[in-house]
Symmetry: C2
Subunit: 140 residues, 2 copies
DNA sequence: TTTTTAAATGTAACTTTGTTGCATTAGAAT
DNA sequence: ATTCTAATGCAACAAAGTTACATTTAAAAA
């Protein structure tokens, strides 16, 4: 996203345009992979406050601009919601977690069919992460 | 599992039969749902040491007797490996995480078909958690 | 049965991550 | 330019994960 897109995106949520929010959105939109908060903070070179980044991530997630995904080691990672529209939060996509490079990437366009559950169970959301070796690490 | 089964199970892994290990296996086998370490510790009434429980869980998981699953809030939970044989660790089963009672249960016998990934991606394991309302909470 | 020894435990301590309260700062509306 | 609320920074604390080391215990050997 360029500066104008970020500005417009923030305005649409009612969140004020602040340096930390812009920086977080910029970094996440530059990445294909999901970033943990510590990873994000290294990109800032320590200029931003840990608590502020925490709250920015929380708020951006609440507004549906980004989503949080836990990798197979239980680390929270954040990625831009690319396939989410303003009105429909589209969480039900697949994540791939490489056991070599540890990267978590969103496989938005791969269709996941939800298995049918026993009677009485109601599905609200799915969290599907495939663990394996990504195409980049496969080549090496 | 009864005491004899637990003893035999531990012997098969080469792990010594100790009180904490027996207690952990007993509690986990009594539960349908996956337990977090703090939850386990409350069952012990604080008699067991936090670090010891941590190491027991780690070791039991390494030996394939239990498995760790992260719930949708990123909390590590542990459950007995019921459908795992001695020689084949069967992680690829579905978990259901109720948003009401927060319980995580294993849906061992529901078949999950793994979506086909782009070329170059190699699947090693899957982590599939469905978030929703369980049959018990649905009735209430 | 006693001795031996490696494995398991308990204690202490430290790291990382998540989280809240409060005083200060800054964005944007007037 | 002023005002007001939202956002930030700081301090502090909680919880979970993790390691080192001294002590204890399970089980093998004598």
């Amino acid at each position: 996203m360029n500066d104008l897109q970020i500005e417009e995106t923030l305005r649409s949520t009612g969140l004020k345009k602040t340096s930390v929010r812009v920086a977080v959105l910029k970094h996440l939109s530059d990445e294909i992979k999901a970033l943990s908060q510590p990873e994000l903070e290294t990109l800032f070179e320590g200029r931003e406050n840990r608590v502020t980044v925490y709250r920015v991530l929380r708020d951006l997630e609440e507004k549906g601009l980004i989503h949080k995904v836990y990798d197979v080691e239980g680390t929270a990672r954040f990625a831009l919601c690319r396939s989410c529209t303003e009105h429909q939060h589209h969480d039900e996509h697949l994540h791939f977690n490489c056991i070599e490079c540890k990267n978590v990437i969103c496989l938005d366009d791969i269709n996941v069919n939800i298995p049918s559950l026993p009677t009485g169970f109601k599905v609200k959301n799915i969290h599907f992460t495939i663990e394996g070796i990504c195409e980049k690490c496969n080549k090496i």
